[in-house]
């Protein structure tokens, strides 16, 4: 089964699918390090706008856009942010210095991305005076576009545009080269401190649908590693996709389920505490709020995304119970998408030590047909 709709060999459509997956990746990176939603997109737009004022060529601007979008993907799985890690403040800071280099490695693995993007991610936190991280580059050893990305970060992080202007001026000769203060000031006055939303440079992406699907799987692997449950989505996905086949799910619904199986762990990604969904009995009402919160959180990542948006409904309803007592909306029986029920049952089945316990939840938490299908599939896969 293909994960995304057939593009009919249209390279622009394939590039749009890859761009959607990259947007999701960027949003996951932001969530991991606590940035507000939309941070990466704003940073990318601001960096491109600065690059235009600095008269950088189109290829560099394109690379800068994707570097801005993916600026924080290195945080996924980094010990400073990983779920369940209990590091001292000092060790947390030291581990966080590796985020750009890990992000660069993650970007280098993405087929079709402009090759310069990875190193812009790597050097976005370098400082002019050599006190940045990870490489402690200094002076003109820092590539100009990486400094523009850093300026964009300072701008987006500042509460008010004028605050950004003051902070960049104060950091001239320290975080930024002295001439960058002038570049930023010129940009600020030309744009009024309000950069236009950037168009996604689709022509810069060399997309291949199979590679895009592989990227989504890589993202799912990183989500699971971050949550301390390596390999979980692969087991759940195998079970859920096979059960959907047994229950005769429509191809579109099966595709949404496959995407949802890869993304459902994203709801936990911003959570640092160990006491989360995976530590609760999946058949107990205790933890139902966490499950619903994770379901809604994961759905929020997919929502509004042209390629992955179909999975949002599947993700959101996976906390619902068959008897209508679930959350977040208390949907009852047929109002719950079948694929959501399959995903919920597959997740529960995967985390149970005694698999037959799931039968006790039939008719209350899970649809009996779904449970039967899960058991049939599990037997045949075993």
């Amino acid at each position: 089964m293909t994960l995304f709709q057939d593009t009919g060999g249209d390279p622009r459509a394939a590039a749009a699918q890859l761009a959607d997956v990259l947007a999701l990746y960027g949003a996951l990176g932001d969530a991991t390090c606590g940035n507000p939603p939309g941070f990466a997109a704003r940073k990318a737009a601001c960096a491109v706008s600065l690059a235009t004022v600095a008269e950088l060529d189109a290829a560099t601007r394109d690379a800068l856009y994707f570097a801005g979008l993916l600026h924080a993907v290195g945080a996924i799985g980094n010990p400073a942010y990983r779920k369940g890690e209990r590091l001292s403040e000092r060790m947390t800071r030291i581990e966080s210095w590796d985020v750009p280099a890990q992000g660069a490695r993650a970007c280098a693995e993405i087929a079709g991305l402009p090759s310069e993007s990875a190193d812009l991610v790597r050097w976005q936190h370098e400082c002019w005076d050599g006190t940045g991280y990870p490489d402690q580059l200094r002076w003109h050893g820092i590539p100009l576009p990486a400094t523009l990305l850093s300026l964009a970060d300072a701008f987006v992080r500042a509460g008010e545009p004028e605050e950004a202007l003051a902070s960049v001026s104060a950091q001239a000769g320290r975080a930024f080269g002295p001439e960058f203060g002038r570049t930023f000031t010129m940009w600020f006055h030309l744009t009024g401190g309000e950069p236009e939303p950037a168009q996604v440079p689709l022509d810069a992406l060399q997309a291949d649908p199979a590679a895009t699907a592989a990227l989504l799987e890589r993202i799912a692997d990183r989500i699971d590693a971050h949550n301390g449950v390596a390999g979980r989505w692969r087991r759940v996905s195998r079970l859920a996709e096979a059960a959907a086949g047994v229950l005769g799910a429509e191809p579109g619904a099966a595709r949404d389920l496959a995407v949802a199986a890869r993304l459902y762990g994203s709801g936990e990604i911003a959570e640092r505490a160990e006491d989360s969904e995976s530590s609760f009995d999946p058949l107990a009402r205790l933890g139902i709020d966490e499950r619903a919160a994770h379901a809604v959180g994961a759905a929020a990542f997919a929502e509004g995304n042209a390629t992955l948006g179909g999975a949002a409904a599947v993700l959101r309803a996976r906390g619902e119970w068959f008897d209508g007592t679930g959350k977040p909306h208390g949907l009852f029986q047929k109002a719950i998408p079948m694929t959501s029920g399959i995903l919920a049952a597959a997740i529960a089945y995967d985390s149970l030590d005694h698999k037959d316990r799931i039968e006790g939840a039939t008719g209350t938490q899970f649809d009996p047909r779904v449970v039967r299908a899960i058991f049939d599939v599990a037997r045949s896969l075993a």
Partner: protein, 304 residues
């Protein structure tokens, strides 16, 4: 006005680390280490690192951020570095020769005070951190001479304080023995056994055009504003004797020959110079992988 070079060599330790991991190297020697922030990065990632350089202040910084694992600088100790201490007699005129040329009278006084205070520190680790932090304050001043209106005026002690505090953050242990030594290239190569040798040899005659931010700080550390680093390099392998291309090639070949025992040799060069360097490396090692992410950053990874 003093000239600050626009192009500086870029050593990306995260990239070197990626190469070391690919070749399963757990230890590395860098005989041309320069400012050893890259060794600090590799140390932080568990690599045992050994560096060498001819300039003493680089080696002192290495003692702070590479060799020592547990150096602490308390606030009171930083204060004792950045400010004049009552009761201590300072040689306030030590750097008067730079007054009006590069720095103000106040800055020259501070350079003398810092020199004396750092010389009185209690440990090599603290000394290294202080030298690194103060050097950054010094670089800020030099940069400000070129961009007086773009950069803020910061009180010398406040600037030095923030940079020394910042330098201290990089201290970390890796449960390995790490060393730095002030010596020539061949001695450093022969003194250690390691999985990899990293070579970023200086460009031909580069010591003649050394960055002011480097040679002036050696002069500061030596307490002699008239000090030049040319003498340090004069009789070195890549000094005056390697002034012409054949002599430079011979010098590089002799370094590679001395590195015979190292399983992996990583030579950093540039796209511009790779043609000269690659043939010398290939003469000594049969397998050479070229990793070239940027025109200014090319690595020749040579294995046996």
């Amino acid at each position: 006005m003093i000239e600050l070079h626009e192009r500086t060599r870029r050593i990306s330790p995260s990239r070197i680390h990626e190469i070391l991991m690919r070749y399963n190297c757990a230890s590395m020697v860098d005989p041309f280490m320069g400012l050893p922030t890259h060794l600090n990065y590799l140390k932080r990632h568990g690599i045992a690192v050994h560096g060498g350089d001819l300039l003493e202040w680089f080696v002192r910084v290495g003692e702070g951020i590479v060799v020592n694992d547990l150096t602490i600088l308390r606030d009171s100790e930083v204060a004792e570095i950045v400010e004049m201490l009552p009761g201590r007699i300072y040689s306030l005129d030590m750097f008067k020769a730079w007054e009006g040329v590069f720095f103000s009278e106040e800055q020259c006084v501070y350079l003398g005070v810092w020199h004396d205070n750092v010389r009185n520190l209690r440990s090599d680790g603290q000394t290294g951190l202080a030298i690194l932090g103060l050097w950054r304050a010094f670089c800020y001043w030099l940069q400000k001479t070129q961009n007086p209106d773009d950069m803020q005026d910061v009180a010398p002690s406040e600037l030095a304080w923030s940079y020394i505090r910042q330098a201290e953050q990089w201290v970390i242990a890796n449960m390995r023995r790490n060393t730095v030594r002030q010596t020539d290239v061949l001695t450093t190569i022969g003194a250690q056994k390691a999985d990899a040798l990293f070579l970023a040899p200086p460009a031909r005659n580069s010591f003649r055009s050394a960055d002011a931010r480097i040679w002036m700080w050696e002069a500061w550390w030596q307490g002699n504003p008239y000090f030049t680093i040319e003498h340090a390099y004069r009789d070195s392998l890549f000094g005056a004797r390697a002034a012409d291309p054949p002599a430079y090639a011979r010098a590089l070949a002799s370094v590679l020959s001395a590195a015979e025992s190292y399983p992996v040799v990583i030579v950093q060069t540039t796209e511009q110079r790779i043609a000269d360097v690659e043939s010398i490396v290939r003469d000594v090692r049969p397998h050479v992988e070229v990793v070239s992410p940027h025109p200014y950053e090319t690595y020749l990874v040579a294995t046996k």
